[in-house]
Each structure stands twice: as C-alpha cells, then as structure tokens.
C-alpha cells in the first residue's frame, strides 16, 4: 500500500495523481479514484453502498462473500486502497476478515453493521478496524473514508522517515486536509514541492512512495554500504534521509532516493527482526555492535509480542552481547529463520514476521548490512575467520535443500560481516552459527570439517561467503570444493545453484508466495526458490539482477560486489515477485577472489561458470521451472518489489560478478539485503550476469 498510496498524494503537474498501486494511474484528484473493496452479504446494502461510493467518485469492487474478497485481495495486493466490510456475514466473521486483511495486506478496513452496540464497536477497534460505520450508512460517512487511507500511509511514511521528510509530511497533512486536491492552491503547493522532486522525474513510474519520478538510482553494493554505514553512524532511530544523505556525500543522490531506500531498509530490518523467532539459534550473534543494541531491544519487543520466545530473547541477547564482533540477533535470526520458517506457515510469517522483522531488523543489521555492505575490509575480517570458510561456504550454500536452508542463514551472516562489525566474527561465526543444528548436519557432509577449521566458525561454514572474500583463493575453491562435496550445491559462492536447489526443494510455498511476505518465512531459501520456481519469472529476474549487478562493478573487490549484489539481489529477488513471491534469492555471489584480484576471481569465475553452466541462468530461468522472463521488475512497482523483498525472509543469494565470480553467497532466512528498487533495472541485469547461479546445481 505504501507504494500505491504514496503516489496518490501528490498531484503532479501533469495532474495525474497516482494512486498508484501496482501501476495504475487513477484519476486526477484525490480522493477520487480511491479503490474500495466492498464486502457485504446483504445485496440491498451492497448495491446501495456501491452506488454511494461511486457517487463519491471512488472505484468500487463489491463482493458478497468474505472468501471472495480475500482471494481478490491476495491476487491483487495493490489493487485496493481500502476495504469496507460488514460484520455479520455467513461465511466468515467480519472481524476475522479484518484480521486477515490487516495481517496480509495491511490495508485500512472499515467495519459496518446495523448493530451499534458498544461491544461490537469495541471489537472492531481491538481487531484493528480503522473505522466503524453504523447502518444505514449515509453517503456523507463514505465521503470521508479516504482519510483512513491517507492516515495509514502517512503513518507508514513517517515511520520510514522520522524527521527527514518534512516535505512529505507536510504534503500529506496537506493532502488529507484538502478534499479537493485539484484546487489550484493545493496544486500550487504540491507542485512547488514536487517540482523539486520532479525535476528528475522522467516518467510516471512511481516506484516509491514519493510518487516522484526520478531517474532510477542504482543502489550498488558500495552505495548501500555507504548508506548503511551512515545509518549506523546516525543510529537507526535517528537516521533521517537528510543526514544520511549528508553523511554519504554522494553526488547526484537525492534525499528522496535516500528516503525511499531508507524505507526499504527499515522494512528489511523489520523483517529481519520478525524472523528471529527461533530461540535456539540466537546464539550466534551476527549483529553488528550497533545492531546489537537493537537486537536486545528487538528481542524484547519480539518477546513481548509473543513472537519471539522468551528464551530466544535471552539467547539473542546473550548472543548479541556475547559476540565480540557480531551482535546478537542476527545469527539467530538467520538460522532461526530457517527454522522458523520451516514450520511457520505463511501467515505466521506475515503477522509475526512482520513484527519480528522489525525486531530483527535491528538485530539483523548484520544481515542486511551484509548484502549491501560488504566492505572490503569487512570482508577481510571475515576472511580471517573464514579461512576455512571458503570451504564452508560451499557447503553452506551448496547444499541442496538442506543446506539451502542453512545457507541462507549463513550467507547472511557472512554478509553482515561485511558490514564491518560483524565481519570478523559475525560473518564467520554467523554463518556457522546460524546453522548450528542444521548446519551441522549439513556440514557433516564434509564441510563440517571445513567449518571447524575456520576460525571459529562453528560448523557452519556458511560464513565462508565472507571468507572467500578475503581468501580469494579459498573462495574460489569453495565452489569447487563444495560442489564436489555437496551434492548439488554447486558452490557456496555460487550459491545460486544451491539456492536454486533450495527453492525447488522447498516448495514452500505457494501460499507463501501468495503472501509474498510470507515467502520469506519458510525457509528463506526455499521461499526463494519456490517463488522462483513457481512463479514468477520475475522473481528470478530480480534475483538475477541483483546478483549480477554488482559484481560487475568491482572486479576484485568482493566487497564491492557483495554490496552490490547484495543489494541488488535482494531487491531483485523480492521485487520480482509481484505477488510478492519474491523470494528473492538474491544470489549475491561474492567473489572471493577479491584479494587476489582477478586471478582468483577468474578462477572462481571459471569454476563457477563451469559449474554454473547449467545453472539456471538467473535471467532466464527461475529455478527450475522458471519462466525466464523478465528480469526486471519494471512493471512492478519498486515499492512492491522492495516490500516483497524485504518481506522475504531469509533467502540466500549469491552475488555474481559479471565476470562470473561469485561474490558472495548469502543465505539468509531473511534476506536483509536491501535492494533498492532501482536495482532492478534491466540494464543492470545485463551487467551482471546472472548465470552465476544455477539452482539446478544445488543438490536438493
């Protein structure tokens, strides 16, 4: 919804207000064109209300059954702005529907009933309805329902940009206050404020809540690293786009870009925190010191919400605190994610994950940091640890289904390291840690030994992904080694194969996909694949895009690749799923070869390439079934993709360098990678070279 709603507020000069939800451009004047879904079993009421809503110039869709409504909403996540539902319905209780919608789609819901008893109204409030109308409903009451949409968006917007978006904040209130946006005064105001943003706008694509058209900003790995560094420096709570922009000091980057990226990032963090339900795995603390602070908090919050078992909270905290480098939270989340997802149902993921994600986000800084911010030095840190990691990486990633699960986690872990904080420990430790129980088993394949050799990385070699960076050679080896070791896992780095294997194996889910958000939940990797396999060719596209992108950017610097890839991948994967299947499998293949330079990379590339030969080309195939498709999520709203991406829980991605080097295989249950919407541009994809990964190769 944000994506769609954000746009609507601004009436652009072109006067095409976009209530852009999924790309629809609606009428010119907000609130006209508001897309309402009407649910009521009473045909008389239904008809009357429909007529009234149409008289208010809203776009009405009516259905007389709750199930129908839900499926409509699921199919077209961004197809509606608000839902009006009756309380008493034969097939499903109105409040239940309300809950579902709130969890899955987070749309504002208005309840209505002939019953005006206080208890019923209270029930509506507690279930999260944003309003309660008493029948007979008068048209005046319906005239103002747009306020709920605006309010919701505004709140979300504000969440993202705490104080940065003064303009947006001003805009929104302004908008909400003015019923008639087309009024010249309003337009003037908006136009002026928008003008600024519109300067760069090229087209009507609103891929962001800002509804501004701006040239796509590619959030390369480096850029994202800078971003994350800036955010961490400011503190996640205080990170406002303006300051972030200043800290980043990147010419040509606008505050809007940062704002939208921040939004996504936050979503991502939220997702991460939502993921760490699993108590057991929390031991590993991937989180960066900074994150760690959030971690404990998040844990608590999570615990409070009931999502995170108390013990996990403790573990997380312990993990976080105990970790020297890595802060708690993430490690577990990663692993946990896997675990969590495995038994969580999509719904769970949604509801809980969301909350958790929030929590996780903090904790998972590592994770999210990872994808995007794999700084060279960080990688180096990892490197130390991950000496053996290289090998480990392989196992981690490559495993077939099993590993995939872990891998994502591991990978993720590895990633955070890049952030720097985690690097040393976290990456290595993270990866392994997360996997702990699972990984061990996975590793037992043979990789376990590798793992243990690593610096301390617990069996989960997952971290290897990082290590490879430092150890270029080792990295390169991984893929190779592992491939041999792991049946299907083609390289950790390359992970794509693994990843791909994951996906198919996982079959998670259909429902996950549908939930999109949920997809992450199950096993990250699985989700990704599932999605990939199942649907959405786009998913692949995204993923591929993600991966490839960055790698091309830096040849030697894994980190750079990682960063890019991470970000790219993440987005890509997620974005593609319009439905939000985006199981983004961001395959960030981090090429370990950094240190050694091209040589290694090349080696790895070659290796990878060879391995990947049959790998699924990201571009063209989705994990197995895939319909090749479009890599680009162009038609997906960036927002959608992003949110889908973010929602993804753990996924693993491998970043592939354009040269084919695997930059990093990140397996995370929740893929923190924060892909910018922009990343998924086709052009970028080309750069990257998706063929890095082959899902097929990953043994299941």
């Amino acid at each position: 919804m944000n994506s769609s709603s954000g746009k609507s507020y601004m009436s652009t000069a072109s006067s095409s207000v976009l209530w852009k939800a999924g790309g629809d451009v609606v009428a010119d004047q907000f609130p006209a064109g508001l897309r309402v879904l009407l649910v009521d079993d009473d045909p008389t009421c239904l008809m009357i209300l429909e007529k009234m809503l149409k008289a208010c110039q809203y776009n009405v869709t009516k259905c007389n059954r709750a199930e129908t409504a839900l499926s409509m909403l699921r199919e077209n996540r961004n197809g509606f702005d608000i839902v009006i539902s009756d309380v008493h319905m034969p097939d499903m209780d109105g409040f239940k529907l309300l809950e579902h919608i709130g969890l899955e789609m987070d749309l504002p819901v208005i309840m209505m009933s002939a019953d005006d008893g206080k208890n019923v109204v209270m029930k509506g409030v507690t279930h999260g309805a944003c309003d309660y109308l008493i029948k007979p409903v008068r048209i005046e009451a319906l005239k103002n329902i747009w306020q709920h949409v605006v309010r919701k968006r505004k709140n979300e917007w504000k969440d993202f940009e705490q104080s940065g978006s003064v303009e947006e904040g001003d805009r929104q209130p302004k908008q909400s206050e003015d019923a008639d946006y087309s009024s010249s005064a309003n337009e003037g105001n908006w136009k002026s404020s928008k003008r600024r943003k519109d300067d760069e706008d090229e087209n009507d694509e609103r891929d962001d809540t800002s509804t501004l058209k701006k040239p796509r900003v590619v959030w390369s790995v480096e850029l994202h690293q800078q971003f994350v560094a800036a955010v961490n420096q400011l503190g996640i709570e205080k990170a406002v786009p303006k300051k972030i922009l200043e800290l980043m000091n990147v010419p040509g980057l606008t505050r809007e870009n940062v704002a939208s990226h921040l939004q996504k990032y936050r979503l991502y963090l939220r997702r991460l925190s939502g993921v760490s339900q699993h108590p057991s795995n929390l031991n590993n603390s991937f989180m960066n010191p900074q994150d760690a602070t959030f971690g404990p908090l998040d844990l608590q919050a999570l615990t409070a919400t009931g999502q995170l078992p108390a013990q996990s909270l403790a573990t997380l905290q312990a993990a976080g605190l105990g970790r020297s480098t890595a802060k708690s939270g993430i490690p577990m989340p990663l692993i946990d994610q896997r675990n969590i997802f495995s038994f969580e149902n999509p719904k769970l993921i949604f509801g809980e994950a969301q909350q958790q994600h929030v929590n996780n986000n903090k904790q998972m800084n590592l994770l999210h940091g990872i994808p995007t911010t794999m700084e060279p030095k960080q990688l180096a840190g990892l490197h130390h640890k991950a000496q053996s990691v290289g090998n480990m990486n392989m196992p981690v990633l490559s495993h077939g289904s099993q590993s995939s699960q872990n891998n994502p986690l591991l990978m993720q872990m590895a990633q955070p390291q890049a952030r720097g904080q985690m690097l040393n420990d976290s990456t290595v430790g993270l990866a392994p840690r997360l996997l702990s129980p699972r990984e061990q088993s996975m590793l037992s394949n043979g990789m376990a030994t590798n793992v243990s050799t690593r610096n301390g990385v617990p069996e989960n070699i997952r971290a290897p992904s990082y290590n490879p960076v430092s150890q270029t050679s080792s990295m390169l080896n991984f893929p190779m080694n592992h491939t041999s070791e792991l049946p299907g896992s083609s390289f950790p780095l390359v992970s794509t194969p693994g990843i791909s294997s994951l996906a198919p194996k996982v079959a998670f889910q259909e429902d996950v996909n549908s939930e999109i958000k949920g997809s992450v939940g199950f096993m990250p990797s699985y989700d990704i694949f599932n999605d990939l396999n199942q649907h959405k060719p786009q998913n692949w596209e995204l993923q591929n895009v993600g991966m490839m992108f960055n790698s091309s950017q830096h040849s030697n610097s894994l980190q750079g690749n990682l960063d890019h890839t991470q970000s790219v991948l993440v987005q890509q994967g997620f974005l593609s799923g319009q439905n939000r299947n985006s199981t983004v499998i961001s395959k960030a293949m981090f090429s370990a070869g950094d240190s050694t330079g091209h040589v290694n990379a090349q080696n790895s590339n070659q290796h990878l390439n060879s391995l990947l030969d049959n790998t699924v080309r990201v571009k063209s195939e989705r994990v197995a079934d895939a319909a090749p498709a479009n890599l680009y999520p162009d038609h997906f709203g960036q927002e959608d993709l992003m949110s889908a991406l973010l929602k993804q829980v753990g996924s693993f991605f491998s970043l592939y360098d354009t040269d084919g080097d695997i930059i990093l295989l990140i397996l995370t249950s929740k893929f923190p990678i924060f892909l910018q919407q922009d990343i998924i541009a086709p052009a970028e994809n080309n750069d990257f070279d998706f063929d890095g990964y082959s899902i097929d190769n990953i043994p299941v």
Partner: protein, 123 residues
C-alpha cells in the same frame, strides 16, 4: 392532466409514507443517488430489497415455526433484516426488527410474534 394528476398522487403517497413513519431520510438519500446514469436506481433497490427481505422473512418464519425456537438464528435474521431495511430507509420495519430482537433476547418470540405479526408484512 392525467400525467400530472398521477404525479401528484405519487407525490402524496410518498409524502404519506414519510409522515406515517414508514420511510425516513435514508430513503431520501437513495433518491438523491438516483441520477441520469441510473434513472431507476430507487426502483431497483426497492425491488432488490423486497426480494431479499422476502427470503429473509421466509427464513424467519421457518425459524419461528420450529420448536424449540432457535433464538440466535432468529436474532441473526432479524439483524440482517434490520440492516437491509434501514439501508433502504424503511424506518418502521427497522424499528420493528429492533423490537423483535429485544424480544428474542428475552426469549420471548411468541409473544412478540403474536402481537406484531401482522405488522411485519406491511410496508
């Protein structure tokens, strides 16, 4: 003129419905909704209402006739009926439903029915 006379008549009847409390301002809202794009909106709605309420009433009757009376079901039907009629502006029906529901709550459907049954079918 005939047409004029008829229109007058209709207007009178309509007026009386309001005066007698059969219709309330909700009905006016419906009338306002009617426009050129939907010239027969009110008519359609009322027809729909009648069809739907006939079905409802049938169900209510069945429930009332069954022994023992399922009050919760009855309450549900009444609630539905009340919703429909209030949406249409059928004031009296709505209030009757409300009263009926109170009786149902008290578990005293028979008394209510016997006293009010004839009224339910009016309007």
């Amino acid at each position: 003129m005939d047409g004029y006379g008829m229109q007058n008549q209709i207007a009178c009847i309509r007026r009386s419905l309001f005066d007698q409390g059969y219709l309330d301002e909700q009905f006016i809202q419906l009338e306002e909704l009617q426009d050129d794009t939907n010239p027969n909106f009110v008519q359609e709605i009322v027809t729909l209402f009648y069809t739907d309420s006939a079905r409802l009433i049938q169900n209510i009757e069945l429930t009332l006739n069954s022994r023992p009376i399922n009050f919760s079901k009855l309450d549900d039907y009444m609630h539905q009926f009340k919703g429909s009629s209030s949406s249409i502006g059928a004031k009296k029906v709505t209030s009757e439903c409300a009263v009926f529901r109170q009786y149902c709550a008290a578990g005293n459907a028979e008394a209510y029915i016997s006293s009010l049954l004839p009224h339910i079918y009016t309007d």
